[in-house]
């Protein structure tokens, strides 16, 4: 492994999404955002629905991560996620439709499905944020 690099691995039940060496990783942990540079202290956290970005040189890659677990070592970041999508794989139209559906369900406020609707809203919004961010960069 090259000196001063991080190996970022993103694994989901649908397979290995990403496995490359990068310079820098940021993610959304349960206690807030965190950044990782090579030489980080060993660190384990739960990832919420959110963004995960990594930088190599000037190249920035953005991922959408749906619940996950991250184990961070000095030269390695391992992410186990329920699902993960690269920003260019996200279907914006679908996310928008999902957002509408979820909002409608939340308005009705049926308690049974409240949690589900809430988290699907969160997913949709985060997906759209990811796409937005990619357009800006």
């Amino acid at each position: 492994m090259a000196e001063g690099k991080l190996l970022l691995e993103i694994v989901t039940p649908q397979g290995l999404v990403f496995s490359e060496e990068v310079d820098e990783v940021t993610g959304t942990g349960s206690e807030g955002e965190f950044g990782v540079l090579p030489g980080h202290v060993p660190f384990v956290t739960i990832l919420k629905i959110g963004m995960l970005t990594c930088k190599r040189g000037n190249e920035l890659k953005i991922f959408f991560v749906n619940w996950g677990y991250a184990e961070i070592g000095a030269d390695k970041v391992m992410v186990l996620a329920d699902s993960a999508e690269r920003s260019d794989e996200i279907d914006v139209e679908r996310a928008r439709a999902a957002m509408k559906r979820a909002e409608e369900r939340l308005k009705k406020a049926e308690e049974v499905d409240f949690k589900r609707a809430e988290s699907s809203l969160e997913r949709a919004v985060t997906r759209m944020q990811v796409v937005e961010l990619r357009r800006l960069k």
């Binding site: 694994v11 039940p13 397979g15 942990g29 060993p42 384990v44 739960i46």
Partner: protein
């Protein structure tokens, strides 16, 4: 004896049957490849999950997790995975037979048995029998996704944690090879104790956020999801493999039948020609007279 036309009609019928079975075999083959692919895709995740869990198990103290705790057994749930569609040889029969036998055994040991079923075959089977069907999921075989497994896991975990059931046994077809599936009867809950990582591994002082217990508590149910997902995928691949070989056999028998009928047809044709010839010869002889 069957007339020529009858035989011809039968040959046609068998021919179209063999066309259908051949097509079904092809479809099953492509579905099988997909299912197998997904089984392979799950592997890296499952392996890493095990590494992490065993790493954590060493650091968590006390009663590790309610899903790991063994309670005295009273109510046992049998979780049966079958397919929605038939025409796949003995695939479903094997599973249902094994499950029924296991249920009967558990009953003689004095446990209350409930059943939850994946697939229409299991649902219909147990509905007709004297069994408490607690829950069932149909319409997912053929298009299993991870969220199906999550949905099932939530239900199973809930019934375990609120003590409706004290043990969950999973019965499914494990994929061995294209020609062999094995019925597996295994305990799903309580989870088998997770062996902690070997002591001579370097112990890092990890920072845990939020806390190690919370992380462990989230990963254990995840592990149940993964096990269910794996069973569903195994069953899926087995189903398509079983269908493939069933359809292959059906095509073979149809072709055999066609060749037998053709032989019969030719014999009958020859007989009728001979008969006609005899008639003609007989007529000529009579005219001569």
């Amino acid at each position: 004896m069957a007339t020529l036309r009858d035989i011809k009609r039968r040959i046609k019928a068998v021919q179209s049957t063999s066309k259908i079975t051949k097509a079904m075999k092809m479809v099953a083959a492509s579905k099988f490849r997909k299912a197998q692919q997904r089984m392979f895709e799950l592997r890296p995740y499952a392996e890493r999950m095990n590494v992490i869990l065993s790493g954590l198990a060493g650091s968590v103290e006390g009663d590790m997790h309610p899903l790991l705790a063994v309670r005295p057994r009273k109510n046992v749930e049998v979780f049966v995975v079958t397919s929605d569609r038939g025409l796949c040889g003995a695939f479903n029969t094997n599973i249902l037979k094994a499950a029924s036998k296991h249920i009967a055994d558990l009953r003689t040991e004095g446990f209350n048995v409930t059943v939850s079923a994946v697939g229409r075959k299991a649902k219909d089977y147990f509905k007709r029998r004297n069994v408490v069907l607690r829950n069932s999921w149909t319409g997912i075989s053929g298009k299993i996704s991870y969220s199906n497994a999550q949905e099932i896991a939530v239900d199973v975990i809930e019934s375990y944690t609120n003590e409706t059931v004290d043990e969950v046994i999973i019965v499914y077809n494990e994929f061995k090879s294209v020609v062999a599936q094995k019925v597996v009867i295994a305990r799903l809950l309580p989870l088998a104790p997770i062996a902690s990582a070997e002591a001579d591994l370097p112990v890092f002082n990890f920072i845990y956020e939020p806390s190690i217990e919370e992380i462990f508590g989230k990963l254990v149910p995840k592990n149940v999801e993964i096990q269910i997902y794996r069973a569903l995928l195994e069953s899926q691949a087995s189903e398509e493999a079983a269908r493939m070989s069933a359809m292959e056999n059906a095509t073979k028998s149809a072709n055999e039948m066609i060749s037998r009928l053709s032989l019969q047809y030719n014999k009958a044709r020859q007989a009728s020609i001979t008969k006609e010839l005899m008639d003609i010869v007989g007529g000529v002889e009579a005219l001569k007279g």
